[in-house]
């Protein structure tokens, strides 16, 4: 297995007392487990505050989970020694949401792309130029762009630079955190085509994080739907989108078609999660049991998992 995530939880302090010791916490992730196979695209979808970005950052090692473990090709990411982790790091890369903030404005594209090569001591000085030129063409930019600064590019082109930077180390997995949400639809389409092509040709796996069920559905083979730090439904994209079982997935699906939804209010703050099933405060089907029992993610049909005891009679 390329990536295995086992029961990871992540807690952040949100306020501190007089002496700087944390007094209240937010549980951004709760017991999240999943696997990503080689060459597969796994989508993560949910609204702001559901923990999807924290999940992405834990997977590449930018955050250390408070509990649980992350396995890169059979090795425990947070237990391996530093040198080994560094060597493996280039195979697990990330593309960030905001292409205006994630590129250093004072570095030329060449410097941005060379950094990974230098850190990992890859290729000789002569090969580096031709390698990065090829890379730029692969992501739909021109070789002359190597000597330009980020501000000379449009949003879509910058996101291509972000993808190129992730590709430098010839990764096996890229975590893409909302890579197209700041782009116009026609630009978005061209980036999605690029990503789909890279996956098809180079067999790179993605953990594709987005708030947009349409985008996730188009690109991913499997989908995980998150709500307040937990996965509430997980399965093949076809299963989840054509026959959603969890009430929250149903709501997301209706909303992404521009239809009206049967829920009221907004997701509660993750600092103050409701007891029981955390969706019960907004769920149109909630009963007494939902207020009392936490709903665990359980297999309901082959590879489909749902965290709702009423999944079968909705």
């Amino acid at each position: 297995m390329l990536l295995s995530v086992r029961k990871i939880s992540k807690t952040f302090p949100v306020s501190r007392g007089l002496l700087g010791n944390p007094t209240s916490f937010v549980r951004a992730l709760e017991e999240v487990s999943f696997d990503v196979e080689q060459g597969r695209i796994t989508g993560v979808v949910g609204e702001s505050g559901c923990g999807k970005s924290t999940l992405g950052r834990c997977v590449v090692g930018l955050h250390e989970p408070s509990e649980g473990s992350v396995w890169w090709g059979g090795e425990d990411l947070f237990k391996m020694d530093v040198r080994k982790r560094r060597a493996l790091q280039r195979r697990f890369q990330m593309v960030f949401q905001n292409p205006f903030a994630s590129l250093n404005p004072r570095q030329k594209v060449r410097e941005i792309l060379f950094e990974t090569l230098e850190v990992h001591g890859l290729l000789g000085a002569n090969e580096r130029i031709s390698f990065t030129k090829d890379l730029l063409e692969k992501v739909g930019l021109q070789t002359g762009d190597l000597e330009k600064y980020p501000h000379e590019f449009s949003g879509g082109q910058r996101q291509r630079i972000g993808v190129a930077r992730a590709l430098v180390g010839q990764p096996e997995l890229i975590v893409l955190d909302e890579p197209v949400s700041s782009l116009d639809v026609s630009v978005q389409a061209s980036i999605l085509n690029l990503l789909a092509g890279l996956n098809r040709v180079q067999k790179i796996s993605y953990l594709f994080i987005s708030h947009d069920l349409k985008v996730v559905g188009y690109l991913s083979e499997r989908v995980m739907v998150m709500y307040l730090g937990r996965i509430v439904e997980e399965g093949l994209t076809a299963q989840v989108l054509q026959n959603p079982r969890h009430p929250y997935t149903k709501v997301l699906l209706a909303a992404s078609d521009g239809k009206s939804v049967p829920v009221k209010g907004e997701p509660p703050s993750p600092v103050n999660k409701p007891p029981g099933c955390s969706f019960h405060t907004r769920c149109p089907y909630a009963e007494k049991r939902c207020f009392e029992e936490t709903q665990e993610l359980a297999v309901v049909d082959q590879s489909l998992k749902v965290a709702c005891w009423k999944w079968d009679h909705l």
């Binding site: 188009y218 997301l252 907004e266």
Partner: protein, 302 residues
């Protein structure tokens, strides 16, 4: 030139959706109608803006103050930046009522509570005492809607009112907006980049490209039988599960610069159907079918 000969008409009780990508001039259209263009450097060079048969360009700033916020309500994209952070939300609604209505002072509070209830906020006594930062994005946008309808307007301009919100909240705010439209018989100019939202809510849709309306018509015609190659391109670039495994259409090139307009059709550079004629002379907006207008020499035959 940011806008080049935009013609729009909104009838009573109708919702016109103005759709386009960033930089096409959607927000500038709204600001022009409201006389809020950042001027200088921007100015309206020519044309008329008629509101209930009155040319808005003739109004003085004093007249404008009586119109804006009363006859014409506005909802902007970012609820947090449009509300005043240091004034309680109740007072912000009250202000509109004090200036624009003749409700006696003693009854203004009651009217504030009624408005808050109208926009779906329960417990209006408590909410009206809160500051914007104490409310969520969705609640702030509800307050914005309350402010917009407080003056009892006949036209509501909503500029990307749900873009900053989460999808499930977005759906609720849209529902509310269109309930208010029915309840108060509002005409709405709904500005958005989101084609999916438009389909279910608008009476008519106008697609804006490079400062011009390139296609206009009822949503079912425009979505099922798009005529302009730009509209077709936009619709085909929307990701759908059913389209999985096939590349999405993406419109080649980029939006032309408003600083250096070229002759001919503004979309010619990016158009798959471009002919010599398109590069020479800009096409007019023509009525292809009843109520369905398109600015193209070679509209789709579909």
């Amino acid at each position: 030139m940011v806008l080049r000969g935009v013609n729009l008409a909104i009838h009573e009780g109708e919702c016109l959706a103005l759709v386009g990508e960033s930089g096409c001039g959607k927000s500038m259209t709204a600001l022009s109608i409201l006389n809020l263009l950042p001027s200088p450097p921007m100015e309206i060079r020519s044309g008329k803006i008629l509101f209930k048969k009155q040319n808005l360009k003739d109004l003085t700033e004093t007249d404008w103050r009586k119109l804006r916020g009363k006859e014409i309500g506005i909802i902007f994209q970012e609820p947090f930046t449009s509300l005043n952070p240091v004034i309680r939300v109740g007072e912000q609604i009250e202000e509109v009522l004090r200036i624009h209505s003749n409700i006696p002072v003693g009854e203004i509070r009651t009217s504030v509570y009624r408005l808050l209830t109208d926009v779906g906020l329960s417990d209006p006594e408590r909410i009206s005492e809160q500051y914007p930062h104490q409310l969520s994005g969705g609640m702030c946008q509800r307050v914005m809607i309350a402010i917009a309808i407080a003056g009892n307007p006949s036209l509501l301009i909503a500029d990307e009112p749900t873009t900053a919100l989460d999808v499930t909240v977005q759906a609720q705010i849209l529902d509310l907006l269109f309930q208010m439209k029915e309840k108060f018989r509002l005409s709405v100019l709904f500005i958005t980049h989101d084609l999916r939202v438009v389909r279910n809510h608008a009476d008519r849709v106008a697609i804006l490209y490079a400062g011009q309306v390139v296609e206009e018509g009822p949503p079912e015609k425009l979505f099922d039988h798009p005529q302009h190659p730009y509209t077709e391109g936009l619709l085909e670039s929307l990701p759908e599960f059913s389209h999985k495994g096939r590349p999405l259409y993406s419109i080649p090139g980029a939006v032309p610069s408003p600083f250096a307009p070229k002759k001919g059709c503004a979309f010619a550079e990016r158009c798959p159907k471009v002919e010599n004629k398109c590069r020479q002379l800009e096409p007019d907006l023509n009525e292809k079918n009843k109520g369905h207008w398109v600015r193209c020499y070679y509209p789709s035959e579909k």
